[in-house]
């Protein structure tokens, strides 16, 4: 058991984001949608968010994620990079993703 880190994590291209252990991404058959479950809240990520979250497995670096997403959406890496890093920083601050 260790004390919580007292420094806010900041996203970089080398970060390998992973979903926090208290969250779970799963398909809800009743509502026919993907849900991210956390202790008090349920999030309903849209398609783009879902594609990012699926890559948050601790193996993909942010740089690799951007390259894969750029391929997938036939977009410019430089164009989508701020959106991806912004999303990851926000989800890290919300305590859903570890950077």
């Amino acid at each position: 058991m260790t004390e919580a880190s007292r420094v806010r994590a900041v996203v970089s291209m080398q970060s390998r984001p992973i979903l926090k252990s208290h969250t779970r991404l799963q398909y809800d058959r009743v509502r026919e949608a993907w849900a991210l479950l956390s202790p008090e809240r349920v999030f309903w990520p849209n398609e783009v968010s879902l594609d990012i979250l699926r890559l948050c497995d601790g193996r993909h670096s942010v740089a690799l994620m951007i390259s894969l997403l750029a391929d997938q959406y036939a977009a410019d890496e430089a164009e989508i990079a701020p959106d991806v890093t912004g999303f990851l920083q926000e989800w890290s601050d919300k305590f859903l993703v570890t950077l």
Partner: protein, 380 residues
């Protein structure tokens, strides 16, 4: 009801009313159920299966003290099998060796551990339980060692509001991901003890400043959820996210209610699981339909632009203070009875003794009326 009824997302399961602590701020009903009224294992398992079928994604296992149920492992395993997110809400005293690991093994997702004070003396005084604080610290360590995520829950009132900065430090030192600073809501035992629990306005204002500063300072380090005190509010909270809108609760005997204090609305009738299926209760129970949506609303809610933000606030608070469950929650500044909230604060503060010890507490106990001696001795 014109709008379609959507499936529920969350369920609060009060597995038992038994508890080793006797906190005066407890929101359980004053008439607590004894162990022999509790639904059995098969009943809870069947309820959880039906809840998952209906669309429930999260179950909060609570009480009383849910860990007093020896079948907790089995209940968790059933929910985990169905992909339901499980959150165990515990006081964390008297948990036998190996059980926390067994819950983790069964698939428990998260533990929420309450602290009545940031220091031992406060925790013991509020819960009326010696040694409770040390046991909670030990539970927190065992939760983290078992690899389970941890939320610290701090129920706040007059007797521990000054400890808010210490609660924040405590939660950080225990490695918690989340801290709930939850000002007590006056239902059940807390309503009975309202005068003894009510904080002073200046203390509330200081608290708000401290928590908001900490939320900013600890962004990305620890999440702090802040439940502000209703009596000092301008607008009401969307209680339960709206009556029978996306959550419900189940009492230890299997009675299904839209919220944990709904039993105080005596005009409503609640069904028990087993007599009716969960789906039928959710869709057809007259109690669930009584305040669903907005069509039941009176003025000022009826023409208010906030009606789908707060859904009229808390029905039980309207019952307790306005004497009418369909009235606007008096926490709302638009309620004609809003001034009564301020009057209740002033009344509580003016009767407060110079001594700050909570001598005036009516501690939470099952069956406060003593049973005949012959029954207690089993000698009839």
């Amino acid at each position: 009801m014109n709008e379609p009824v959507l499936p529920p997302i969350g369920m609060l399961a009060e597995l038992t009313h038994r508890c080793p602590l006797q906190c005066a701020y407890c929101s359980n009903p004053v008439e607590l159920l004894k162990a022999n009224r509790e639904m059995d294992t098969a009943g809870w398992l069947s309820l959880f299966e039906q809840a998952a079928d209906l669309g429930v994604l999260q179950v909060h296992l609570s009480g009383g003290e849910p860990t007093l149920r020896p079948d907790l492992e089995e209940l968790i395993a059933c929910l985990a099998r169905r992909g339901v997110y499980t959150n165990l809400i515990t006081a964390g005293v008297g948990i036998a060796d190996g059980r926390i690991e067994a819950w983790a093994e069964a698939g428990l997702d998260h533990i929420q551990l309450s602290f009545q004070g940031a220091f031992a003396a406060t925790t013991e005084k509020i819960g009326n339980s010696r040694g409770a604080h040390e046991k909670k610290l030990e539970t927190a360590r065992r939760v983290r060692a078992a690899g389970l995520p941890l939320t610290i829950n701090a129920p706040i009132h007059r007797h521990n509001m000054e400890e808010v900065p210490d609660f924040i430090e405590l939660a950080l030192s225990l490695g918690a991901e989340r801290l709930e600073i939850a000002n007590v809501q006056y239902a059940g035992w807390a309503l009975l003890n309202r005068k003894a629990l009510m904080p002073e306005r200046e203390a509330v204002e200081r608290q708000v400043q401290i928590v908001e500063e900490a939320q900013e300072r600890l962004r990305g380090i620890m999440t702090i959820d802040f439940v502000t005190p209703d009596y000092f509010a301008i607008y009401p909270k969307p209680c339960m996210g709206g009556w029978a809108r996306d959550a419900f609760m189940v009492a230890p005997d299997g009675t299904v209610l839209p919220c944990h204090a709904a039993g105080t609305i005596k005009s409503l009738h609640f069904e028990r699981f087993g007599d009716w299926s969960l789906s039928r209760i959710w869709h057809e129970s007259s109690a669930f339909n009584a305040f669903r949506g907005t069509s039941w609303m009176q003025e000022p809610c009826r023409s208010c632009e906030r009606q789908e933000i707060d859904w009229g606030g808390c029905r039980c608070q309207a019952m307790a203070i306005a004497g009418d469950a369909a009235a606007t929650d008096p926490a709302c500044i638009k309620s004609p009875l809003h001034a009564r909230m301020g009057a209740l604060i002033n009344e509580a503060i003016s009767t407060k003794t110079a001594d700050t010890t909570p001598d005036a507490f009516t501690y939470r106990r099952i069956g406060r009326v003593t049973e005949p001696r012959a029954f207690q001795n089993g000698s009839i």
